[in-house]
């Protein structure tokens, strides 16, 4: 796939959550955990990824944190590891059980990428308003979410899965109200009987849908992103200029201090 992307002159290839291993790992987590600095698969990816950028998902275990496993996303810039984001919000309810097997990430931050300031999120992170806000406050212009979201609900009222609506709604909202490119890559296929919903999408900083993959089916979604739209959107809608993180911080400190249970 990376070779094909290179042939088609892609600058950035995004793979879904836990794309190196598959999603439902359970007791396999410890067997597939990697240190990106030293692991064989990452060495291969650094070679394969020369000349373009990759975002992918893996289980991270660093030498200094043995026995702690993170559901992580990596950004490789022309074969060089630029950033790792560890999933902060691990869904653990209903059909999800991530907190049984993974350690929660503790940070959400943007980094300087080749196409602008960039942020990574993993699946459920994206459904939390504060995760998106933190990337925005940290200056992100491009927000990339890798996902393994199952499809649920097949009512005649929807063209695909009912559950996909929530992700699209967030994509449109975040892109428009943070004047950010939002890239969302979700996987397809079945694991343990459950289907992943697909439906990957890209919204531009005006909240306009640039491209979307169909629900449930695999797809090769390629889109040209006009990066000049970031500046245009931020001029037209100065949410970034007018943001007041210090007000947010003060209010959050007050709220957290007031916990009294």
């Amino acid at each position: 796939m990376i070779a094909r992307a290179r042939r088609e002159k892609a600058d950035l290839v995004v793979f879904p959550e836990l794309s190196l291993t598959g999603y439902k790992l359970r007791d396999l987590v410890e067997e597939v955990a990697l240190d990106p600095a030293s692991s064989g698969p990452f060495r291969k990816l650094r070679e394969a990824g020369r000349g373009l950028d990759l975002v992918l998902g893996f289980v991270e275990e660093k030498p200094g944190e043995r026995g702690l496993f993170y559901n992580a996303a990596a950004y490789l810039h022309r074969g060089r590891l630029l950033h790792v984001h560890r999933k902060v919000f691990l869904p653990t309810a209903g059909m999800f059980e991530e907190r049984r097997f993974f350690t929660e990430g503790r940070n959400i931050r943007a980094f300087d990428g080749p196409f602008g300031r960039t942020g990574l999120l993993v699946c459920r992170d994206f459904l939390h308003l504060n995760a998106n806000y933190l990337l925005f406050a940290d200056g992100a212009e491009i927000s990339i979410t890798i996902s393994a979201a199952p499809g649920r609900g097949v009512s005649s009222a929807a063209k695909g899965y009912a559950s996909s609506r929530m992700w699209e709604l967030m994509g449109e909202t975040v892109s428009r109200l943070t004047t950010t490119f939002v890239l969302y890559c979700n996987r397809v296929g079945f694991e343990d009987g459950a289907a992943f919903a697909g439906g990957s999408f890209i919204f531009d900083p005006f909240g306009k849908l640039v491209a979307q993959a169909p629900p449930f089916e695999s797809d090769w979604l390629v889109a040209d992103l006009d990066l000049s739209l970031i500046r245009k959107a931020r001029k037209a809608w100065p949410f970034r200029r007018d943001d007041k993180p210090e007000v947010t911080l003060a209010a959050l400190e007050r709220i957290v201090r007031s916990y009294d249970d």
Partner: protein, 270 residues
Amino acid sequence: MTINAPFVEKILTGFIKEELAKAGFRKGVLGLSGGLDSSVCAFLASKALGPRNVLGVIMPYGRSFGGDLKDARTVARRLRIRVETVDIAPMVDAYFGRHPTDNRVRVGNKMARERMSILYDVSAREKALILGTSNKTELLLGYGTIHGDMACAVNPLGDLYKTQIRQLAVHLGVPERIRTKEPTAGLWAGQTDEGELGLTYAEADEILVRLVDERASTAEVVAAGFAKKKVEKVAARIRASEFKRHLPPIAKIAPRTVGHDFLYAYDRDK
């Protein structure tokens, strides 16, 4: 309750194809009763795997249920899937000849298990996987024979209520005769599911979707206009049949135990 039938068809044919391929199989085998569920499953399997990779096994008890036999053959012919017939009367009669009983549930369960025993043997001979045909209504009400019709390798229909299977059947073009006939497990002559359950599938499904999918309390379902007796009966059946939806519990002794904390997806490594 109303499904997007074309989308569900896509999901379920994808499921059948992918689950078989992951396990290293190309062929599927299923029991064809001439009823709605197995007909829908045959239509899906035929689309997913190609008709030549689907084998329908018709397993009548002697000459009973002649109409259903004809319907099963009609489905097989329409789909151009392979079909074979195995009469279970000699095996079932041999057993009950030596261990007679008047209990028709025992006889019905024995027949269901006899059929599944044959299906497993045929699946080994054919290098095929068994496609299950238990629907969500049956699974939740426990209206099935454990290790009988509830057994299978993969079940494409288990998250669709009977009402939704009817909708899917219309979309798939299942013959009207099959879609409109009275559902029966065929446990004995004149037996109907709805007669035995004491409520119609339409009623059961409306109650189930509220109790299970919407997680409403029985009081809330009654307040929504459903008969208290029926709601309580459905809720009681769900509770009483919990064991049918699990593998048998294993007494835990060791630090790591199958069924407790030895945790893998069934398709790990696939």
